[in-house]
């Protein structure tokens, strides 16, 4: 009798959970329609989304080889010696505003097209100059993706500072806030 009771309760619970699953599915897709929220259906990886954004930038694409990494010491030397090198922070704008490497420009991976177009005039002057891209830390992939996008857009001398913001702050280097 007790087992029958429990099975009956379980059946009722599962029925309710099926309703909750349906409501979540419908509610989730409706919420996904709100401006700026959209997860593409089907899902596109970060690299694929960036490729779509790059393709939408007017101009000719010139896919290049993957950007080479640059270690902290070399990065710090280039930064202190070079007056022509361009430093790109690929992290979301919120993190950039909180703190970034002095002189760096923000070209966030998640808003690449919009930010590239807004700074296009200044960026175009650096097509042949050394460009070094960084993101949060050695594990993040935004710097690699943004460096690849810049190479595709014809920037010939793009490299990636792998250690990123984490290594920069760990070495107690100067910071700038926007």
């Amino acid at each position: 009798m007790r087992l029958v009771n429990r099975v009956s309760m379980l059946r009722g619970d599962l029925g309710l959970l099926a309703v909750i699953a349906a409501v979540s599915l419908i509610g989730g897709f409706l919420l996904n329609l709100r401006p700026g929220a959209g997860v593409p259906f089907p899902y596109m990886a970060k690299g694929q989304r960036l490729a779509v954004e790059v393709a939408a930038i007017p101009g000719e694409l010139a896919p290049g080889s993957p950007a080479q990494p640059v270690e902290f010491i070399e990065f710090a030397e280039v930064r202190s010696a070079s007056t022509t090198a361009l430093f790109i922070d690929a992290r979301p704008s919120l993190f950039f505003r909180t703190g970034h490497i002095p002189g760096a420009r923000n070209l966030a991976r998640d808003r690449f097209r919009e930010m590239f177009l807004a700074q296009r005039a200044e960026l175009e002057t650096a097509r042949e100059k050394p460009v070094i891209v960084y993101c949060g830390n050695a594990q993040c992939e935004d710097s690699i993706l943004v460096a690849g996008a810049l190479r595709d857009l014809g920037f010939s001398n793009v490299r990636v500072f792998k250690g990123g913001w984490a290594e920069w702050t760990r070495e107690k280097m100067p910071e700038e806030q926007a």
Binding site: N5, L17, V23, S24, G28, N32, F41, Q139
Partner: protein
Amino acid sequence: MNGHWLDRPAVQWTLRILLAGLFGYAGFLKIAQPLAFADGIATFRLLPAWMITTVAVALPVAEILLSALLLAAWRRAAALGLLVLTGVFIVALLSVVARGIEVNCGCFGPGGPTSGWLELGRNALLAIALGLVYRHELTKQSRANAASPAGAS
């Protein structure tokens, strides 16, 4: 009725408030940044692209609904639902640990890579707490059914 200390109303309410707060908070963080959550799911390399979007948009809503129900009506079903979700997370994390890949679970919004073992431990604790709530609600209802005239017949 006054059995184990874990069945005391104060303990059960505390557990439910903590669990509902945790899952509700996690759900709101994911809804705020659904694309980052979808990117986190993708790092598990378990689901096809269409399913990543489906899970990324539906799971946070389910977490919030179940959290609300855990505090109001249908506590037993809500605890079971969250227990099933936690079980699925545990299986996914076990597969990550077995494959030795680095993931960002996206459990509490976007962030860097997370340790599979740490997440497993956290989810195991959640499963235990949810199991306690579910068992309590199940026993309570069984007793109520047995005491009712229909249950006694």
